[in-house]
């Protein structure tokens, strides 16, 4: 399978803290990778690095036919070219408060992809329908519940038809029903060989979508392999990390 995104020897330090510690990892075309790891381990930083929103101190990144060296300054044109290949769903949604729901989704397609307004609007409405939010199209984000905003931010990223979708906690504000719906959307995308990198804390969800799991801890990659391999790992650290689910399951999912 083609290597789509490739990070090599990436380091990022915040004063006291090494958020990414010599990370080398790659993501393949057409594959769904789930990144898991403790809170504060560097997962968001990793996604932001791929999206060139955070510039690490050193290392290299290549996406498709483009590559950058983080030790050197990166031109805006280069950043934009690379960002167009990925679509990002933020942990905090980051919707544009000054645009309506539909406007949020149309923004990228019209401004960046130069789609016509009608075309972009039609596509936006289609996406909204797929997450059951068509009736909110003309509202502003602050008139929506958390879960509604979450879903709209997924639509916004999907509207760009990126080569690789980067999702940071795409289901954290969703109820099981919605989770299923988003899961279905993602599984459908996976079937169409849409490459995806998903950060999630929801192991049930992770199992459902992951073709591959990357486990990050303290800014280092501790596991990188199959989903089954991860959930059945004998590694002490992983077992402990996963213990959470079993505990919850054990203690009351009788």
């Amino acid at each position: 399978m083609k290597r789509l995104i490739k990070l090599e020897h990436v380091n990022k330090a915040y004063r006291q803290h090494q958020a990414l510690d010599d990370v080398s990892v790659s993501f393949d075309d057409g594959q769904t990778t789930v990144i898991v790891g403790p809170s504060g381990s560097g997962k968001s930083t990793l996604l932001r690095t791929i999206n060139l929103l955070t510039q690490p101190d050193s290392g290299t990144l290549s996406i498709d036919d483009l590559a950058v060296d983080f030790a050197k300054p990166i031109s805006s044109a280069q950043k934009i070219a690379m960002r167009k290949k990925t679509g990002m769903v933020f942990q905090n949604w980051n919707l544009f408060p000054n645009l309506t729901v539909r406007g949020n989704i149309m923004e990228g397609p019209t401004v960046v992809l130069k789609q016509s307004k009608t075309e972009a609007a039609a596509h936006a409405d289609e996406l909204l329908k797929s997450v059951d939010l068509l009736e909110t199209a003309d509202r502003y984000p602050n008139q929506l519940s958390g879960g509604q905003q979450q879903r709209i931010s997924i639509c916004r990223a999907l509207a760009m038809q990126p080569e690789c979708l980067l999702l940071d906690e795409p289901t954290s504000a969703l109820d099981p029903e919605m989770e299923t719906q988003v899961l279905r959307v993602l599984l459908e995308l996976a079937k169409q060989k849409q490459a995806m990198v998903v950060v999630t804390h929801n192991m049930v969800f992770a199992r459902a979508v992951a073709e591959r799991i990357v486990f990050v801890e303290n800014g280092r990659i501790r596991y990188d392999g199959s989903s089954d391999g991860f959930f059945n790992a004998t590694d002490e650290r992983i077992r402990h990390f996963l213990a959470g689910i079993s505990l919850s399951e054990g203690s009351s999912m009788a």
């Binding site: 932001r48 999206n51 060139l52 929103l53 300054p73 031109s75 805006s76 950043k79 934009i80 960002r83 167009k84 990925t86 679509g87 990002m88 933020f90 905090n92 980051n94 919707l95 544009f96 408060p97 000054n98 645009l99 923004e107 990228g108 401004v111 960046v112 502003y140 984000p141 602050n142 008139q143 916004r156 990223a157 760009m160």
Partner: protein, 234 residues
């Protein structure tokens, strides 16, 4: 007294239409243009290759100097030097042009600070979200950041606009006979400074009220999207 008001009003209004209003509008437009440019230059983080980096640093130096110079010195002196001083360097400007240039430069220096603050008040998350869509800096600025910053910048910018309306009266020192000067000339004959001052104040008030209404309307328009319903201070 009514006699005085009746004869003076049309003369003052004529001066307003001839000088005060065009001066204000032209200068404010120029000032906002300069203010936006200057604010952006100040906010850029120098990056890229050394040449580009050096260029940005030089531009920033100029921007800081410009804002410092025009905020730190009295507007009257600026007018004076541009009109009476520049001819010594061979630059001879007509009074109206000199006034527009000076007021624009002055307004630009002040408003750049206001605009800078407003741009900074938009959370960096918004930059992230827009960049992640592959938008260029210019698009992000125009389509995402400015619309949100405008809401914050409007009241202080309106202050500057309304202040400018009245500052144009300083143009009298460079031979422009605007509203205030006309009032003073009439007063020189009738010796009713209080009446004349109140009259001219009333006429300014009419002008500024129109601007205040405009501000209110713009504020409502630009914050359509902001929280409605739940009160902030209860």
């Amino acid at each position: 007294m009514w006699e005085i008001i009746k004869t003076a009003t049309p003369q003052i209004i004529a001066a307003g239409i001839r000088y005060t209003i065009p001066l204000t509008l032209l200068s404010f437009a120029g000032g906002i243009f300069l203010g936006v440019i200057t604010a952006l230059i100040k906010l850029v983080v120098p990056s890229g290759n050394p040449v580009k980096k050096g260029l940005i640093r030089i531009l920033q130096g100029i921007a800081y100097f410009y804002v410092w110079l025009f905020r730190s010195t009295p507007l009257l002196v600026q007018l004076f030097i541009i009109f009476f001083g520049l001819p010594n360097l061979g630059i001879k400007l007509p009074a109206f042009t000199a006034a527009v240039i000076t007021f624009s430069l002055n307004t630009g220096a002040y408003s750049s600070e206001t605009i800078r603050a407003a741009l900074l008040s938009v959370p960096s998350d918004q930059w992230d979200a827009a960049y992640s869509l592959g938008m260029t800096e210019t698009s992000v600025l125009w389509r995402i950041i400015f619309p949100q910053a405008v809401r914050i910048a409007l009241p202080p910018l309106s202050n500057e606009f309304i202040g400018l309306v009245k500052d144009t009266s300083l143009a009298s020192s460079i031979t422009i006979v605007e509203m205030f000067t006309v009032a003073q000339q009439i007063e020189a004959k009738n010796y009713e400074p209080l009446v004349m001052y109140m009259l001219v104040a009333a006429l300014y008030a009419v002008l500024c009220s129109v601007l205040s209404l405009l501000q209110g309307w713009l504020e409502r328009r630009t914050s359509r999207y902001a929280q409605e319903g739940d009160e902030a201070v209860d």
